[in-house]
């Protein structure tokens, strides 16, 4: 049985930032509407996400995005989001490539959970920036899949006014 997935090189990378700053295109009301419909289908999503006249009467004074909306899907300000090495083989993906360290030889990667702190709402016209992601921790646990590597990362999104939109700690499981 594998004794550990965590190499000394990986352990020494804990606390480091990786990746580049990503900036979204201005959020479109149409993207918000489609996102909301995908979540709420086959029922209508809340009017706050698609009816401008109604949304104007709420505390938000206009359409806002669902809290979990992803403004970086498909296109960013840098252009189309095309397959990279990690997403061509997402079952092996992790932060090690961006950290320029050797990746463990795991074969499956899963979403293990999220810790999300929400700030201001995203709304049409907003440009969202994701700063570099921080490697918070590596841990391990025995599961029915064998020794499982737990990777915790943290990223922060801000809007064009430098207000915090979201801080997310993501946990991935690899085995």
């Amino acid at each position: 049985m594998m004794e550990t997935w965590i190499s000394d090189e990986m352990r020494s990378a804990i606390g480091r930032e990786f990746g580049t700053v990503i900036r979204s295109l201005p959020i479109c009301a149409s993207d918000i509407r489609k996102w909301a419909l995908a979540i709420y289908w086959p029922k209508p999503p809340p009017k706050l996400f698609w009816d401008e006249a109604y949304a104007a009467t709420t505390q938000h004074r206009g359409i806002v995005a669902p809290e979990e909306f992803n403004p970086f899907a498909w296109f960013t300000a840098d252009g189309p989001v095309l397959p990279r090495e990690s997403s061509q083989n997402p079952l092996r993906s992790g932060p090690e490539g961006a950290l320029k360290i050797s990746a463990p030889d795991t074969h499956v990667a899963l979403n293990g959970g999220r810790e999300i702190v929400h700030g201001v709402r995203m709304r049409p016209g907003d440009v969202i920036t994701q700063g570099p992601t921080k490697l918070v921790d590596y841990r391990e646990r025995s599961t029915r899949h064998g020794l499982t590597l737990i990777t915790v990362t943290e990223s922060t999104w801000t809007n064009q006014s430098e207000e915090t939109v979201r801080v997310t700690r993501g946990t991935s499981l690899r085995y």
Partner: protein, 136 residues
């Protein structure tokens, strides 16, 4: 405020199938084989393809929103993925109030949240905090 403890939010139910996952993949750029192909799901150690964890997170937000309507705001949400969201099941997002307190001008409500299948299997669980502005 203790009278609100243990109050259960109206559940939010959605079918777990390829159609739902494809709609979500289309908006979140998440066309990953384990969510699209039973064989890939089996290769990962499960009995079929399974839904996205991010979609579970969306359903957990949705159950909060359905209850709050447009009055409250979600301050935070934590969740752990506990089991794969397998194809052909019904996913139900639930919430139960566990704490109510005043923080500044807000009433803050802590809610145990989870998604489950119809046989009671917990898919994800965590805690959310939502805030309502106190009426002056």
């Amino acid at each position: 405020m203790n009278k609100y403890i243990d109050y259960e939010l109206p559940p939010f139910e959605r079918a777990s199938d390829f159609a739902a996952w494809n709609r979500y993949a289309a908006v979140n750029d998440e066309f990953i084989p384990i969510h699209m192909d039973d064989e890939a799901g089996r290769a990962a150690g499960f009995q079929s393809a399974f839904g996205m964890g991010n979609l579970q997170v969306a359903y957990l937000h949705a159950v909060l929103r359905e209850w709050m309507q447009d009055e409250g705001r979600v301050m935070s949400l934590t969740c752990q993925m506990r089991a794969p969201n397998l194809r052909g099941t019904l996913t139900t997002a639930t919430g139960k109030i566990i704490k109510v307190s005043d923080e500044g001008d807000d009433t803050v409500v802590e809610i145990e949240v989870a998604t489950r299948t119809e046989d009671g299997t917990i898919l994800s669980q965590g805690v959310a905090k939502v805030a309502f502005a106190n009426v002056q």
